[in-house]
Symmetry: C2
Subunit: 225 residues, 2 copies
């Protein structure tokens, strides 16, 4: 009747980089699945909270500190880890890739950003976790302003638009999209212009988080179809 189940955490960390959605993976240094790519994560220590465990593992394995973190789902099927029974509480995280320098350490041989459409085979049941995270990202993008946690602090409207098109996998009308987002009045238009190679220089924008929280309290709902 005595239980012998371990508890781990894993993190799906998304970032938008090179006009693509990317995921942060580590290359495992130790068995099982030595040399395979996997989600960053590991066993929870006796006296730390689940969130602390995620943040510690991310720091140790990838040198990334997280901007946005929420619990995703718990995976506990017997046999998902070949050694012991392990329940993994998976987390969903967003970072601005340009703000962090990734670096492998402790259990990780290497760390890298992988574009979502060029993923290697993953260890354990991590592809299942990743699918769940993609679904969460897709649905969350439509009713919370989490897109801004994936972009740099200052960003181009066209990047926001590309981000939405990439993640939602559909075309978006540029005029309608811009009109709608601007009507929310949660963006600041900066006085800086950026010339991306060729074409007319574009204005930089900044997400006004304070303003968003204020409007939210007043009953405003962020909603992009």
């Amino acid at each position: 009747m005595m239980q012998n189940i371990r508890v781990a955490v894993d993190a799906v960390v998304f970032g938008y980089k090179d006009h693509q959605l990317n995921v942060l993976l580590i290359e495992r240094k130790v068995p099982p699945f030595q040399g395979s790519w996997a989600l960053p994560g590991g066993l929870v220590l006796e006296h730390e909270s689940l969130e602390t465990a995620v943040e510690r593992e991310l720091q140790e394995e990838t040198n990334v500190t997280i901007d946005y973190l929420e619990q995703l789902y718990s995976f506990g099927k017997p046999g998902r880890d070949p050694r012991n029974r392990v329940i993994s509480v998976a987390y969903f995280a967003l970072v601005k890739p340009s703000h962090h320098e990734i670096k492998a350490d402790t259990d990780a041989q290497d760390v890298a950003w992988f574009p979502i459409n060029e993923l290697p085979e993953l260890a354990f049941d991590h592809h299942v976790i990743l699918e769940k995270a993609k679904a969460r990202l897709r649905s969350k993008l439509t009713y919370e302003p989490i897109g801004f946690d994936l972009l740099s602090t200052k960003f181009l409207f066209s990047d926001l638009e590309k981000l939405y098109m990439t993640i939602l996998e559909k075309k978006i009308d540029r005029r309608n999209f811009r009109k709608k987002i601007l009507s929310f009045e949660i963006l600041e238009e900066l006085d800086e212009k950026v010339s991306e190679g060729r074409g007319r220089p574009a204005n930089l924008f900044k997400f006004n988080k304070k303003q968003y929280f204020k409007l939210q309290k007043e009953g405003f709902l962020f909603d992009i179809k």
Copy 2:
């Protein structure tokens, strides 16, 4: 470095009964919190899946079998159980109360349905779990046809309407609500009428699950504001 963490499951079981939203609770037979009311649940066995554990505990403690079950959230703060560190994976369940006879057994001294607004003090952090479940119920009700899992197979339109008003905590226009739900074409109007004490007898309806799945495949989205 050796972990000593246990894994449990708990279930928040909702049912609509006597024109009110109810939750299924058990009275604990053993310490800690002996004699307190709590969510049904218990430790996961070594070789069973999390879902199996929930179903087993519900069967053992309450004699209820579930119509709808999904994972809710995992609670793992150190100290939430006074004895050991316990991570609890909470589940969200819906039943048609009229279809089950509840009965206490094993670890439970008693089982009862409690109207959501007349809850006793709960053991452990179960009030936090319950709040999370209420939030899930509220949001899910608007984009999935889960209301039908709470009512009897044959139900009155007025009960569906009351259910929505109770859970969403707002007034709903009867005409607009009926028009919208009927426009989905996922209900069957039966040829039976029921006289609820006084007033004009009402028609019974039935949720057509097959039709819903068919429409869903074709891209239909259930959506009630």
